[in-house]
């Protein structure tokens, strides 16, 4: 056999994408596995979507999904830690986690994650994975392929248009609004990420130089950057619900308070959640979404696979399925979940784009233009300091 032919054969062997081969291996290994997907379980629509994902992957790839419903994502992190603590480096109980931000940072730093694996997923071709994309940076922490995106989150407020006419136009305006409507607004406890995000959203607008927030918070830059925030908050707090002495545990409880008529405004990390909640009978028909003028914080929700996951291949199959344009369109459907897709429209073919264009709309579903610009998440250390500082200032 002439050497050139051998070389050509070898080249051909390797040219048939290695990726495809290993992906086929992954699919084979995944068949029959049950993926324990640890995901916050407080939202029935998300739970139903996860159940649907399980039905699909089970029918298509023989991978079933069981959702482990968490009150707080940190529970799953702790579980992996205690497994590592006990030396259980294989066959772990957590296969996949819905994760981002501080939990991701903690797991990545502690070496508790499997990967990088995102580039191995065939459907990653539809993602914008350029270094500055929201898919590549999670709260300023580089993703490095250790977690795979699945839904887009953007901070929004909602209000009951039957109760109030004009919601505040900026974060600063919340102080006057609350003074005029004492006891009718609150935010989740800052130890919950939604409460923390509310403080960050205000910080970005009020801080003298927002670019500082992209660097880690230090003793040197923290006080100056946050002084206007605390001044604002001290003015706001006395007029909050329960005079600022008690706070709802998370955004779901807060939404319930709005439905109960105890408060007039709530917040969410999902612009479609208000329309979804109306359809579910959890908010009045008159609820609407608004954002402050300067735009709001946005980020991406990811799934990650623990280093000791028992069903790693199955988890990869599920992560890949989540990125399928068909799945993403189904997810963005307001009648299903209404979460915005993470795919890059420019990378989709015409058929896929048509599916997205044909999705139904609803009165409480904002269009992308009315959501304003998307602001970058501050470095994760700001959230840590803010919540700790808040606890120190206001816990008696």
């Amino acid at each position: 056999m002439p050497p050139s032919l051998t070389a050509a054969l070898v080249a051909a062997l390797f040219a048939t994408p290695v990726l495809a081969d290993t992906w086929q291996d992954t699919l084979d290994a995944a068949r029959g596995q049950t993926v324990y997907w640890n995901a916050w379980g407080g939202d029935e629509r998300t739970n139903a979507f996860i159940a649907w994902v399980g039905e699909q992957t089970s029918a298509r790839r023989g991978v079933s999904v069981r959702q482990v419903k968490l009150t707080d994502t940190a529970e799953a992190v702790t579980r992996v830690i205690s497994e590592k603590a006990a030396g259980q480096d294989q066959g772990g109980s957590v296969d996949m986690i819905w994760i981002n931000g501080p939990n991701f940072l903690a797991m990545k730093e502690q070496g508790l994650l499997h990967g990088p694996f995102v580039a191995d997923l065939p459907n990653a071709q539809y993602l914008d994975l350029s270094p500055t994309s929201a898919n590549s940076v999670d709260f300023t922490t580089p993703v490095d392929g250790m977690e795979s995106p699945w839904r887009l989150a953007k901070f929004v407020f909602n209000y009951d248009s039957a109760r109030i006419d004009a919601p505040p136009a900026s974060m600063a305006a919340f102080v006057d609004w609350a003074a005029a409507h004492p006891g009718r607004f609150t935010h989740p406890d800052p130890s919950n990420f939604m409460g923390g995000t509310f403080l960050k959203q205000a910080l970005i607008e009020l801080t003298p130089d927002a670019s500082v927030l992209q660097q880690p918070a230090t003793d040197a830059n923290y006080d100056a950057a946050t002084a206007p925030l605390w001044e604002w908050y001290d003015a706001l707090r006395p007029n909050l619900w329960r005079k600022g002495a008690a706070f709802p545990e998370n955004q779901s409880i807060q939404q319930q308070l709005m439905n109960d008529g105890e408060i007039d405004m709530a917040m969410s990390f999902d612009p479609a959640s208000t329309a979804g909640a109306i359809a579910e009978g959890l908010l009045p028909e008159t609820a609407r979404v608004f954002v402050p003028e300067g735009g709001t914080i946005g980020n991406v929700s990811f799934v990650a696979i623990p280093y000791n996951a028992a069903n790693r291949e199955g988890a990869m199959v599920v992560a890949n399925f989540l990125l399928d344009p068909e799945t993403q369109a189904h997810m963005q459907n307001i009648e299903v979940l209404g979460s915005y897709a993470v795919l890059d429209p420019a990378k989709l073919n015409d058929d896929a784009r048509a599916v997205f264009d044909a999705l139904p709309t609803a009165p409480a579903l904002p269009d992308l233009a009315s959501l304003g610009p998307t602001l970058l998440e501050p470095h994760a250390s700001w959230m840590d300091r803010l919540t700790a500082d808040w606890a120190k200032r206001y816990t008696r």
Binding site: Y36, N38, G41, G42, D43, E44, N47, A48, V68, K69, L70, T71, D72, A74, E75, A76, V77, T78, R79, I81, S82, E83, A85, A86, G87, Q88, S93, V94, N103, A106, Q110, P182, G183, R184, D189, S191, W241, R242, K243, A245, A246, F247, S252, I253, Q255, Q256, L257, N259, D260, G261, E262, A277, E280, G281, L282, A391, K392, Y394, T395, R396
Partner: protein
Amino acid sequence: MRPRDGRGLRLVVLAVLVLGLLGPIAAGLGQTGRAAFGVMPVLGAVDPGLGPWRELSAIPGLWTSMKLTLWTGLAATLLSLMLAVGFCAVAHERMSNSAAARWLTPFLAAPHAAMAIGLAFVLAPSGWIARLLAPLMGWGNPPDLTIVNDPWGIALILGLMVKEVPFLLLVMLSALTQIPLRQNMAAGRMLGYGRGLVWMKIIAPQVWPLIRLPVMVVLAYALSTVDMGLILGPSNPPVLAVLLTRLFSDPEIARILPASAGALMQGLLVAAAFALLWLGERTMRRLGLWWVRGGGRGSSAEPLLRAATALVMALFAIGTLAMLSLVVWSLAWRWPWPAPVPQSWSLKAWGSPGAGWAHALGNTLLLAGATTAISLTLAIAWLEGEDRARRGRAAWAEALIYLPLLVPQIAFLYGLNILFLRLGISGGHIAVIWAQALFVFPYVMITLSDPWRALDPRLTRAAASLGAGPWRRLFAVKLPVLAMPILTAAAIGIAVSVAQYLPTLFMGAGRVATLTTEAVTLSSGSDRRVTGVYASLQAGLPLAAYAAAFLIPALLHRKRAAMKGASA
């Protein structure tokens, strides 16, 4: 029968208890203790020190949190005790014990979490009571009052009382059968004491030693409840057990160390509360003696008794409303403020069992069945062992039974989980069954002990004289005759198993989803309708078990009047 009879049986029971019950608690406490002093090699923490304690004490609000814990726990226990005594004094004459048991059953059966979820809705400023009042008071918006999650823990105290008063009542009613109540009362009245004073001066001192341990169980529970504290308790800061549960699941992994220190602190708090109880008992004994000797006969206690009775009835009413609200919510579609009943109804929350509750129900049934079967077997073996040795129970044995109920769960469960992980059984059903059985067994044992000892000895003697051996006497005579109390103990076992939150959460690695874990998780969501489904099922299951415990013997023994159940 010689005392050596049944020695093998007793040894087996003792071995199972030491390895299965004492061992895990000690090992769990040991792990927690190591971590509390900074030793947890997997986290790279190997040098013992006081670091975790320093970190713990630096947590904002920790001292408030501890004060709140002591306050809510002591207040709930003392108030429950006082109300139960007062109610008992008035009601015991008008009600047979079995009628009272039937009456109290729904409150005993409802798990703490379900009750808390219902109460949170009933009591909230936008809740059921407020909605009923709104048209009368002219409220357009719900009043801005902190009622649930209030910083003083009043809602938590109330919630605990709704659950603990019925428990103490039941315990007290059974204790009253062991003292010569009628004679004491007659003698007291004849000497010119009012009914209330006879209770306080003569009956209560006799009842107290019989209910001291159950009161301690209530106290330990009230000081360390997680699910009730989470749903009804203060939020900023919460009670210690809630704060610790959050610390244990902090993304910052090293927080496990201060959390462990806090878990020991929780143990110390309970110990301190026990010491207070003991001091109180000593003081009361002194003062009481002086008071009794004074011989005052004023009948001023009567209004107090009446007030206590009224308060107990109010508690029952609120508890009933809470349980009812769960069912109503599970059938509602839109129920906004200020509608007193839902605007629209739907079976949707019940409609998709496949998506959730069927699985949780299956797990709950499996765990309840297994833990109850194990606990019953062990309890019967123990009691039979005592019978064969023909001796009573040593004090250490009694303490052993109560131990799991007196040590706060959080103090040893996390440590125990690490042990289970090493054994490779964490996250599975076996680990959860084991952990739950630690708490199911004591209740089953306590429930079964009295009826077992009250069994007419002539029955077994007659069987023996007819030539039946010990095993045949057990299976052919004792167990059938004791069917009713055994089924009651089983029902209590099921109720306790269904209600377990922390053991299921920690040992099951969250993968063993039960009605309780799902209901508590859902209570942090926004859909009361789905929560209502889980909480209704959670409360309905133990209730069904109690109903079965009443009905099965009645059917089984329908031709034997004395065994139909009225006897228990």
